[in-house]
Homo-oligomer: 87 residues x 2
């Protein structure tokens, strides 16, 4: 399963669609965001995805984690990973 | 029960302690953040609170919502509300 990577410039509706699609298929999705702008877009996308999936009777919840992420194939930074699953 | 309000300048450990305390007492906590910096601090605090509460055997999950919030007792803006409960 792929990690959904979100940046500060990601479109929330596109990210939300990706979350909803992965949840429908795998019942588990992971979203990674580095930096405040990206975390904000990820959380907004999660609100939208929650609405999309409620229409299917799927109620999702999220658990956030810190993870190490590599940027530019080199530098290690702390990212936020949102683990999303049906309640 | 009070809403825990988070700003971009909030200390994550202080917010995490507040979340953990409210969850222990009420089994339900709500965190409000306006703007990317505040949402980022709120999510980081939630990661810390998750760790604090795991020590007590409490595993929390989060559902984010959009809410209208009033700033300066006047202007209405869209805020993120994180609803936090034991899984």
């Amino acid at each position: 399963m792929e990690m959904i990577k979100v940046s500060a410039n990601s479109r929330t509706s596109a990210v939300a669609g990706a979350i909803a699609g992965v949840i429908r298929e795998h019942k588990h999705a992971e979203v990674q965001a580095i930096g405040a702008g990206a975390v904000n877009q990820a959380v907004k996308a999660l609100v939208l995805a929650t609405g999309y999936l409620e229409g299917d009777g799927i109620h999702i919840v999220c658990v956030p984690h810190f993870v190490d992420a590599k940027i530019d194939d080199e530098k290690i930074v702390t990212a936020i990973k949102l683990v999303i699953e049906p309640r």
